[in-house]
Amino acid sequence: METIHKPLKRRSRYNSSEARVAYICLIPAFLGLFFLTYAPLLGVLGISLTNWTGLKSPQFIGFDNYVQLFTTDPYIKDSIIATIYFAFLSVIGSMVYSFFIAMLLNRKIPARGLLRAIFYVPFVLPAAAIYVGWSWLYEANFGFFNFLLSQVGLNKVLFIADSSYVVPSLSLISVWLSGNLIVIFLAGLQNVPGVYHEAAEMDGAGAWKRFIHITLPSMSPIIFYNLLMSLIANLQVVTPALALTNGGPGNSSRFLTYLMYDQAFVNYKLGYACATTFVIFAILAAFTAVLFKTSSRWIYNEGGDDK
């Protein structure tokens, strides 16, 4: 595509007025990349090596913050566990749920547009309101879920007030919110060429075989994209802790980003909080790297035509 549209060769590779226009257009991007992205990234590293509290001028203390974080910090271990546990449940749950719904919506059913729109509704509601609203459904004595449990003869569960249920309960909300994944999956499914399915059907392949050998491989780039985006989003989880649980009960929902918030903006340990930030960054980078590394093995790329 690119080569066809290239205008005739000019004497110089770059036309100076064209380049000038480009740089003018890119001023916002330059500002953003420098001041909002890469400079702050270096800033995190720098500040994490100091004991800055926001009151006194910062002193360089080497890796003390990191040492303290991994040896004496009372929260970090619970925090990492809570974050990964939450992200694991939410990512798996949202992926399975949204793929399933997208498969259903991909069939020729009436009112498809309207139904698709319904699954997307939770995504456009303000997060804070969602958590407040769900806290009522999860309420201990009169909440809807406990009514359901009592109907099937099970004991009351405290959901967000019980340290062993709080993370799964919050994950369920996060799955409920994943309507955007459905829309992307659905668009992908509609791009799977029908001829493959027809050919396989002629050869006598059943629905399950066709799903495994045709649908999944041709959807793999989109599965990868959704997996990546929902992993990055869920590992940064913070809003439920801010709006609802305050990290509790105990430390069971003290997600890493909430821990960082607490250190920096409640206890004013800015240097220390930056060390935590870097830990979150490292965890995210590790997960992303693993995903990218393994992707070549399971992503089927037809004719290498991507982007």
């Binding site: 064209e18 991007a29 995190v44 918030y261 920096a264 995210l284």
Partner: protein
Amino acid sequence: MSAAAYGRLRSRKRNERMMNMATFVVVIFCAALVLFPIWWIFRTSLMTNAEIYRYPPSLTPDNWLFSNYEKTLQVFKFWKYLWNTMIIIVPACLAGTFTAALCGYAFARLRFRGKNLIWALCVGSMLLPAMVTLIPLYIGWTRYLGIHDSYLPLILPYFCGGGAFNIFLIRQFMMSIPRELDQAATIDGAGYFRILFSIIMPAIKPAMIVVALFIFIGLWNDLLQQMIYINSSDKYTIALGLTNFRGQLKSDWSLTMAATCLSFAPGVLFYLIGQRYFVEGITLTGMKG
């Protein structure tokens, strides 16, 4: 076609229709499940407290107590919060969309030295989690610029292209606009900006609306940054106001749910208006990302 083959085809067709009907029923059921929490919140907002605590709970309120909303509005300053939220969102959406279009144009259409490097930095920053830059940015705004208790730290970043993701989205969309259009305009003597404003921008309107919607949702949901930068209660946004309101009225569930429903309303309204673009835009991110 032999009679047997024809029969097979017909039974397959019938089978498929049956399957589609079964699917339809399952989808309706799932959709009802998705909407149920919202309904439950709404029905609670219209009940008396006695009704809420009744066992078994009923699906609909006995009397639709819209007076709960009047009561809520006396404590929960919804209109004030909505106004405050809009003061942040409207300039951010406009500026973010406009600057993203400028940057996207440079990447999609123009040739200049260092393009690949700058593009790589842009794409790279997309993978950088937003919370990593939170503390340095906070220090920058409050210490170096002395900006406290203000909306500026929430708005001004959107004057810088509205984030790499939005630039990326616009660029991808622009690439799909045929270049012959700009070439024809060039021949007619239009300059680069003229082409951008009068040819490309109208053509990428769906993508621009999508970017505006993404910025809207992003700001709408960003409780963390609002908590950090806004202190005084008369500057509260909807998200902050609601979180705070819940703390005050811990046990009055019907009023809390009324406040929750009020907070839902603008998002739902916005979605109903822009539904088509939402779907189109999300599809765009998945297909072209």
